[in-house]
Structures are given as structure tokens and as C-alpha cells.
């Protein structure tokens, strides 16, 4: 029972990181209609910015977080301004190829600047564990869950209640109508990309506390993609649930399946779960079915 509980809690902690990263993915899709395949790489880059501010520039750990978040917000805005804005009106496949290329560029730039060896940022949370329901739970999991929850709730409130959030929802609903009401589409796009960069960074920083920092963090960040598809590409609640499902599935697979199949199941189980759910609900758990009138 302890084994199951520890796997479950590990999965929830990881999944909250995926959910946070997935929110950024969904945000860009809802606002701009773009599948951003470089989101995992933004997560990784954000984590490396955090390392740079904290270790290389010597900022206190808790100052490094807002510094990295702000930096990646700007990176997101610049990506929208100088890469995506030029692609307005182009085909979906062209935009997707652009984001894939962007991801490759980000990965190689990070490798070029910081090298390919794993890095050792100073941990943000104290070591140790506490007992929860008879299972030993590392403090870092608890803190990761708390931070992710606060940020997700904050984001949902911002998205629903703030004027920018309402504007983003209006643009996501109908760009032309939103434009007619005086909303600047370009500004909303830029804000979306900036916020996505910021959330990817926070997600990356949390993942670093769990799994360390190296170039493979982009693959973890890319787990936002199945989380978003699973939950429904246009549903914020769905992506949160999707992230948790993916995290728990990976953890359970690692604990129960890996010993049977000699490893490797953790990497694929998320996509298997995604496939199974899409077979039953093609638009994800909470996605909006697309209805076209003919």
C-alpha cells in the first residue's frame, strides 16, 4: 500500500508540473490557434535561465525565479513578434513546421551556451520527507504541488476575471469580432506567447527540483502536449486533469510495468493513455467538439 501511495504522490507531483506546462500550450492554442511544438524547449530554456541567474550570476534563489520568468516572458513576446506574426495567413502545416524548427533552434542554442552536461542549480526546497497516509512523501513533492496549484488557480482567475483575460478569451472565440470591439489582436497574441513562456519557465523550474537540469528537460516539457490533447486542447480544466493523469500513469507504469518489461514503459504509457481516451472521446476529456454547418 505504501508503494502504491508513494507512486501515486510522485505521479501527482510530476503531473502538476505537466499541467502547468500544458496550460501554456493551451493558452497559445486558444488565443492564436497555433500548435506550439517548441513548448517543451521553452520549458527547458526557462529552467536554464533560472540556472543562469541563480548559479552563474549569483542571484538569491528566490530572486532567480522571477528573473527567469520575466526573461522567458520577453522571449515569448519576441518569438510572437518576429517569428509568428510573419506567418499570419499561412497554412497550419507551415506554422507547425516553424514551431518545430524553433524548438530545434532553442535546444541547440541552449546546448551551445550552457554545454551538454547536466547542471546543478541550488535546490529551492528543503530536503526531507513527511508521512502522509503511511507513505513517506518528500517535501519537494508537497511544495511542487502547492506551488503548481496556486499558479493554476491564479491563472484561471486571471483568465476569467481580468480585462486581458477576457480579451484573450474574446480573441480565442472570434478574432474578427474581438478586433471590432477595439481589442488589439497582435497585443493579445504577444501577451499569450509571453504568458506561455512564463508558465513554461515555472513548470521547468519545478521539474528541475524533481528531476534535475539537463537537455532532456525538453522531452519532459513536451509531456504538456499529450496532457493538453488528453484533457481537450481548448479546455483549461481538461489540461489540468490531463497533466495529472499523464503524471500518475507514468509513475504507475514505472513502478508496476517496468519490472515486467525491463524498463521503458514510462516513456510510452502517457501516449498509450492518450490514444485510448481519444478513441472514446476524440476531442479529449473536456474538449469542445467541432461542429461545421454545411
Amino acid at each position: 500500500m505504501e508503494f502504491f501511495l508513494q507512486l501515486m504522490l510522485t505521479g501527482i507531483a510530476l503531473g502538476s508540473g505537466y499541467a502547468l506546462s500544458g496550460l501554456g500550450f493551451v493558452l497559445i492554442y486558444k488565443a492564436t490557434g497555433v500548435f506550439n511544438f517548441s513548448h517543451g524547449h521553452l520549458t527547458m530554456a526557462g529552467a536554464y535561465f533560472f540556472y543562469m541567474f541563480q548559479v552563474q550570476l549569483g542571484l538569491p534563489p528566490w530572486w532567480s525565479v522571477p528573473a527567469a520568468v520575466l526573461s522567458m516572458f520577453l522571449v515569448g513576446v519576441l518569438i510572437e513578434r518576429y517569428c509568428l506574426r510573419r506567418m499570419v495567413g499561412e497554412s497550419v502545416i507551415s506554422i507547425i513546421m516553424l514551431t518545430i524548427g524553433l524548438g530545434t533552434l532553442i535546444r541547440n542554442l541552449v546546448g551551445l551556451i550552457w554545454g551538454t552536461q547536466p547542471k546543478a542549480p541550488v535546490p529551492l526546497f528543503e530536503p526531507g520527507s513527511i508521512m502522509v497516509l503511511g507513505a513517506q512523501v518528500p517535501r519537494v513533492y508537497i511544495w511542487t504541488l502547492i506551488v503548481a496549484t496556486i499558479l493554476i488557480v491564479s491563472f484561471v482567475i486571471y483568465f476569467r476575471r481580468s480585462s486581458q483575460g477576457v480579451a484573450m478569451r474574446a480573441v480565442a472565440f472570434h478574432q474578427d469580432h474581438a478586433s471590432l470591439t477595439g481589442i488589439s489582436i497582435h497585443r493579445i497574441f504577444a501577451l499569450s506567447w509571453g504568458l506561455a513562456g512564463a508558465m513554461a519557465t515555472i513548470s521547468g523550474i519545478l521539474m528541475v527540483q524533481l528531476v534535475g537540469l539537463d537537455l532532456s528537460l525538453d522531452a519532459r516539457g513536451l509531456s504538456a502536449f499529450p496532457a493538453a490533447i488528453l484533457g481537450g486542447i481548448d479546455s483549461i480544466g481538461g489540461v489540468i486533469l490531463g497533466g495529472l493523469i499523464i503524471g500518475v500513469a507514468e509513475s504507475m507504469a514505472g513502478g508496476y510495468l517496468d519490472p515486467l518489461v525491463d524498463g521503458g514503459s514510462k516513456e510510452v504509457v502517457g501516449y498509450i493513455v492518450l490514444l485510448l481516451i481519444l478513441m472514446v472521446r476524440p476531442y479529449g476529456l473536456f474538449g469542445t467538439p467541432e461542429v461545421r454547418k454545411v
Binding site: 547536466p118 513517506q136 518528500p138 524533481l210 534535475g212 532532456s216 519490472p259 524498463g263
Partner: protein, 405 residues
């Protein structure tokens, strides 16, 4: 009519010039091949684990620079050809063909253990001595005519680790964490063989991919199995992850890292929030000395060479002389010695035969003396155990060389 004749002549001239240039390039390559002795490596220069191959070739190249500055071998300089195989086995094998048939290299090195095994059947076709950055026991046991392990193998490190455990615990619960490839399976096989010697079973095993950075599920599985000692056949970053995640989930176990587990300085371990405590749970086992063991004459020579050629201070040596650097340096020492013994006009076959004649080769203490013969293609089976010195942030030996039988 006149224009077409001019065009035709110009075309002939252009084609002739291109043909002559191609021949000239070919001859220049041939000339260069005759001017130097060549060793070659199908390296990994660009992937996430590229630092293994890069530091290895740095160490190898530094020794060659020393040799060349002293006049080379037989009046010719020695060079190391590198191709980027990116740890792709097919590319490694392809480059081996190029090294043997086109470059006429006298010996070749590959990065991956899988690549070494893939190349094994090709030995009699390529006729070039092969060795790897990986040192699997099965590469040389049974002896293969063309494969060599310069150092003690992964099996020797696992044997030494288990022997060390049994010195203090007569009924230990030992587990193994390994990747699911030839490199990882070597450690699992070695652990099972050694446990048979003590008539005890392995208590647990867990697979961890080379791409993974999270060892939580593996640590949980071994904790469930009651494991108290974990042998990890992975790189330094994975060792840090295992120590971190074992501590997270309450797995109270000593972690024994095999050769590549000390591929970098222990900064990833010590950088954890309770790094000093994690370091106490670490023991490394390796077949060559570390850059910081400055009481060893061979290490001193190596350090001086690095400071001279890389123009760095003593304080910066640790950033250059990672574990694989030392491996590359010693590998070059052995190959150059074989080259010297191969006589004038050496070929890869003569180098192989010369390697087989090396007895008690002195690496000035970096390793135990190395001995090869037609029936023995592994230079030594001696290893050292290491702990982490938390204050100096380096690996320090526990005792002297041990040679598990």
C-alpha cells in the same frame, strides 16, 4: 559556329581542370596518409552525452601532442582522426570501415559498448585493432583476435564492489540499477555471477534508461525489495539522481557507482540540498586514477601536459580532466607503445601483434601495469574504490588497487 566551338573547348578545359583537381586532392590525401601514423575514433561530438567522447579524445590528443613534440614515432607524427558517429551503432560501424579501408588507421576506438559488439564479427575483414570507451568483459572474454580492453572491465568493477560489500556484511541485500542495453546487461550479468560465488541471490534489480533523470520508481522498487546496497551501471548524472531519489523515498542504501559513474566531478551530488549526506552514501569503483591524485607520477605528468598545452592553471584542471580524459590519455600511451614496437612501416596487423607483446606496461601509476598476449586482450583487472571528499569536492581512493579474481 565559332561560338559553339569556343564553348565546346571551354567545356573540355573545365572538365579537365576538375579531373586534375580531383587527382591532386586524392594524391594530397595519400601523401598525408604517408606522412603520419593514424589512430581513429568514431566519436560522439554532439549529443547530450558528448562530453564522454570529447574528454576522451582530449586526453588522447594531449598525449599525442607530447609524443609529436618529442619527434613522433619513427620520425612521423601521430594523429587522431575523429568522426562524429553520435553514439549511433550503424554510424560507428560505417566509420570503422572508413578508418580501416580508406584512412588506413592503425587502430580504432568506438564510444558505445553496442558498437564494439557490432564490430566484433568484422574483425577479420577490417583487420584493425579495436577498443572502446566502454570496457565490457565480453569484448575480450573469450579473446577476440582484434578487440582489446586496455583497462579492467565493468565486470571487474562490479566484482570489486560486491567483494567490498561482503567484507563488512555477510548477508547483504544487493540490487542493481542498469540500462537495458549491452552496457547495462554487463553489470547485471556480473552481479549475478559474483553473487553465486557467495551463494546469495540478488535482492532486486531495476532498469533505468540512459535518457532518464528521475530514479524515483527504481528507488521505490528496490526499497520494496529491502535492498541495502545498490550497484549502478550508469553515468554520473544518473548516480546523482539515484542518490537524490533514494533519499526522497527513504531507500537507505549505499550506492556503488561503476566506471562511468565517476565520469564527472561530484558536483551534481554535492549540489543537492543535502549533498554532504548523499555523498556519504556513495562509493565509486574505477580502473584508472583520478586527475586529483597528485601523488601518482603519471597523474603529475598528465597534469603538467594539460597545463602546458591547454594553458590553464592548476585550479582549472578539474574542469578539463574528467574521468574519460584520463582514459583517453592512457589509451594513447598504450597504442603509441604498440606503434613503437611495431617497427618501421607499421600496419594495423603489426600494431595488433605488438599489442600482444606488451608485458607489465608502466603507466606511471595511473593504472596497474598492463599486460597483453594473444590469449589475453585485457590489460588489467585491477580497480580502485573511491569516496567523495566533501570539502575538496573530489573523489579520493579508499586503499590501494584491488584485483578481483
Amino acid at each position: 559556329m565559332k561560338n559553339s566551338k569556343i564553348k565546346s573547348r571551354l567545356s573540355v578545359l573545365g572538365i579537365s581542370a576538375a579531373w586534375l583537381a580531383t587527382i591532386a586532392l586524392g594524391f594530397s590525401g595519400l601523401a598525408s596518409a604517408q606522412d603520419t601514423h593514424k589512430f581513429a575514433i568514431a566519436n560522439d561530438l554532439s549529443g547530450p552525452s558528448a562530453y564522454h567522447g570529447k574528454t576522451y579524445s582530449s586526453g588522447f590528443s594531449i598525449y599525442l601532442r607530447e609524443v609529436n613534440d618529442a619527434g613522433g614515432v619513427g620520425g612521423k607524427k601521430v594523429e587522431l582522426i575523429q568522426e562524429n558517429a553520435e553514439r549511433n551503432v550503424q554510424k560507428e560501424v560505417g566509420f570503422l570501415r572508413k578508418f580501416a579501408l580508406q584512412d588506413k588507421a592503425l587502430a580504432a576506438i568506438v564510444v558505445t559498448t553496442d558498437g564494439l559488439f557490432a564490430a566484433k564479427p568484422m574483425g577479420d575483414t577490417l583487420k584493425i585493432p579495436l577498443m572502446g570507451i566502454g570496457v565490457p568483459e565480453l569484448a575480450t572474454s573469450p579473446t577476440s583476435p582484434w578487440l582489446f580492453n586496455i583497462f579492467a572491465s565493468y565486470q571487474d568493477t562490479v566484482f570489486a564492489a560486491i567483494d567490498h560489500i561482503f567484507q563488512t556484511d555477510k548477508d547483504p541485500k544487493i540490487g542493481v540499477i542498469y540500462p537495458d542495453n549491452q552496457y547495462g546487461l554487463e553489470a547485471l550479468r556480473a552481479a549475478e555471477i559474483r553473487m553465486q560465488k557467495y551463494s546469495k541471490p540478488l535482492a532486486g534489480k531495476a532498469v533505468m534508461s540512459l535518457r532518464e533523470t528521475d530514479a524515483t520508481t527504481q528507488a521505490l522498487a528496490l526499497k520494496q525489495a529491502g535492498v541495502k546496497y545498490v550497484i549502478v551501471q550508469l553515468a554520473g548524472a544518473h548516480i546523482a539522481a539515484v542518490l537524490r531519489d533514494a533519499d526522497k523515498v527513504g531507500l537507505d542504501a549505499m550506492v556503488y557507482a561503476t566506471t562511468q559513474g565517476m565520469d564527472r566531478e561530484p558536483d551534481l551530488i554535492l549540489g543537492q540540498s543535502n549533498g554532504a549526506n548523499l555523498a556519504k552514501k556513495f562509493i565509486g569503483v574505477g580502473p584508472w586514477s583520478k586527475w586529483n591524485e597528485s601523488s601518482i607520477p603519471g597523474v603529475v605528468s598528465m597534469r603538467n601536459a594539460v597545463m602546458k598545452y591547454e594553458k590553464v592553471t592548476e585550479a582549472e584542471l578539474g574542469n578539463i580532466m574528467y574521468s574519460n580524459f584520463v582514459q583517453g590519455y592512457v589509451n594513447a600511451m598504450v597504442l603509441v607503445e604498440a606503434l613503437r614496437r611495431a617497427g618501421p612501416n607499421p600496419t594495423s596487423e603489426k600494431v595488433r601483434d605488438a599489442l600482444n607483446q606488451i608485458r607489465d606496461f608502466d603507466t606511471k601509476g595511473i593504472t596497474q601495469p598492463l599486460t597483453f598476449s594473444p590469449d589475453r586482450h585485457k590489460g588489467s583487472n585491477a580497480v580502485k574504490l573511491y569516496r567523495i571528499n566533501v570539502e575538496r569536492k573530489v573523489y579520493e581512493p579508499i586503499g590501494n588497487w584491488v584485483a578481483p579474481n
